[in-house]
Homo-oligomer: 391 residues x 2
């Protein structure tokens, strides 16, 4: 696979038509007359409608994908001009906000008008998905849509989204490379006496400068010779001699995420921390080597866990050692016991081993790979084996 | 009210205890034994737990507020170290992700253990709220929690969140002032030949440099003498002579948003567009003058709509002329007919008149105000009456 990167926004329209056709093929298998999506990534996945207006919780949006017809957007009037620039041609609107009936009766009438074969409509009711509308309205719609059962459509949606197209992979590769540049630059921008908050601001500013569209996720967490958690950062805590700074990053380009982290040592850290760092670095190597078609996510977890256990890992509270990646910071599947998802070409995964080498002292690494025909391609620039030292 | 701004992160713990006490007082009125919150703003509102980790949809989080006891966090183990730094002391965890039972049985046991008086638990089931967990799990929990009815708790939550404390207002004032500086700087950074995407990138970078924590929302939309929509921007469309560029902005500081826009003329625009701009500027004046305790959101809408109608407004597809503002880009109430919410001291509102002066040609203005004892205080720096010209 050529290491192509793209730096323009927008997919070819065929991309969306292909996604819908694959969804419809799966709907036939699952016995669904339609799929209804409401959440930002799924609406974007099927329509190409890209906006940050989702930050406003006021109005629900619906896209109905019938089993044998083109999608229907059932949306607030404010969105019609923009939706009409996508490949969607059937757009029904209401004048939102209208709290007493925000699209419910309009959507009910659209669903009532669909040809029925199975009497079942798939919604984002399952794993790692939400239905973005008030549940009170969902309950009302469910009660009023007589003869149509609402069932979990998330297995169908994840079966599509989990395997990325070349165009999707190119975007993830682009943001991973750009973020690798950002981390390299950060090493030169950090100073003793900075706070976690300063580190996050420097990285965020650098990424925007380099061409990231946005940076929805940074966790900058620090502690003496290790950190006690990896999700709440950007506090006013000072970075001083002996501190390890962990920075986890989710930046976006054209709607696709990178998700990887880097560690920085402020001056001299303990030999024990350096040994743990070497173990985690080696566990990453093992994870990358194990990432290939035919292996499962559980095999991937085992390859990393073996190295961590041999290196004396005392524990870890994150519950898994990596996950899928794409339109969201994390997506199914999970690298963990019991997940057992077979890896196939086109899946983008994080390789994310971490260990608590003593209570309250964690070290975590993360890289992003795409599964290829015979192994995987590293999308990020591999973290250095020696932790960069901020002097 | 003094125009105090703050630039440090984190609220006094009393802020959260006060919010919980007010929620409990309201729960007595509404007949609720507990309130359960799951969504980022509401979890943060009651606990102070601030993270960007919400970008990962994998794990649900629950905070239970009993009617007569301190809150209980029922959360993934990954979050325990960080949650323990907040004022919450009762923290129950499970090892997530665990798709077959992601917190459901643990939460059910917590709810089953609560003292019962009303047999009702309030959830984020209503207006402008979502329950952030798979609906399939919510349905299961609802079926298994025998003797407890799940009802809409959103009126109770909005009754609290709609009226801001001095500490909340100080944060919104800070980000509004900082964003006003950012817009002023943008005028000097824009160039003919830039794209909408370039404009968004320049503003985002400048805001991070100035001290915004993040910039979740920018819509940069342009068109000849006006624009056809205001929610999907950042396209590769070129800004050239005769273009009006609209930039709407939601930046954050310490978890609170600004939400206002500015317009820029690229060279000379039509007299008709300039007249429409003057109308919208005057409608903003009328909105600010009408924003005072005793008036309603509908009065506020009427004051702006009168000016727009007198100025020849042909239409507008956004459904309202402003809204509440705080932890989210938009919050209840809405400035529109039928909303009829009385304005009270401490409410932060956007004043957002806009008009389509001919089909496909819109002009929209927006300022942010806080209602005071006898009127309102402008939190943003008032937009210039003459549209800034990029030469």
């Amino acid at each position: 696979m050529a290491a192509m990167t793209v730096a323009v926004h927008g997919f070819d329209l065929e991309e969306f038509a292909g996604r819908c056709a694959r969804a419809q093929a799966r709907m036939a298998v699952d016995g669904l007359d339609a799929l209804v999506v409401t959440s930002p990534p799924n609406v974007r996945y099927f329509t190409g409608f890209a906006t940050e207006f989702w930050e406003s919780p006021t109005r629900p949006w619906f896209v109905v994908i019938p089993r044998a017809a083109d999608p229907i957007a059932v949306i607030p009037e404010i969105g019609a001009p923009a939706m009409s620039t996508t490949w969607i041609s059937d757009i029904r609107t209401w004048q939102a906000p209208q709290p007493e009936d925000d699209g419910v009766s309009l959507l009910a009438s659209v669903l009532a008008g669909l040809p029925r074969e199975h009497g079942r409509v798939g919604w984002e009711m399952g794993r790692e998905m939400i239905v973005r509308m008030p549940i009170a309205d969902f309950d009302r719609l469910r009660a009023e849509t007589s003869g149509l059962e609402f069932v979990d459509g998330s297995p169908a949606i994840w079966s599509l989204r989990m395997v990325k197209s070349d165009a999707e992979i190119a975007r993830i590769r682009h943001i991973c490379q750009l973020a690798s540049d950002g981390f390299d630059a950060l090493a030169g921008l950090l100073r003793h006496g900075d706070s976690e908050c300063d580190a996050a601001r420097k990285l965020r500013g650098e990424l925007i400068r380099l061409g990231a569209d946005n940076v929805p996720f940074i966790a900058a967490c620090s502690g003496e010779n290790g950190y006690d958690q990896i999700i709440v950062g950007s506090r006013d805590r000072e970075l001083r001699e002996g501190t390890v700074l962990f920075v986890d990053l989710g930046a976006t380009f054209d709607g696709y995420f990178c998700d990887f982290d880097r560690n920085f040592a402020f001056g001299k850290i303990s030999d024990e921390a350096l040994r743990a760092h070497e173990t985690v670095w080696q566990a990453t190597e093992a994870g990358i080597a194990a990432a290939r078609p035919g292996a499962t996510t559980t095999d991937l977890w085992r390859a990393m866990a073996d190295v961590l256990e041999a290196g004396g890992a005392a524990g870890l509270n994150v519950g898994r050692l990596g996950h899928g990646l794409g339109m969201q910071l994390t997506e199914p599947p999970s690298n963990m016991p019991g997940d057992d998802t077979p890896l196939v070409e086109g899946m983008v995964m994080t390789i994310e081993p971490g260990m608590e080498y003593r209570p309250g002292k964690m070290l975590v690494h993360e890289e992003n790979v795409v599964i290829t025909a015979d192994g995987c391609e590293l999308l990020t620039r591999r973290a250095p084996r020696e932790m960069p030292v901020i002097t």
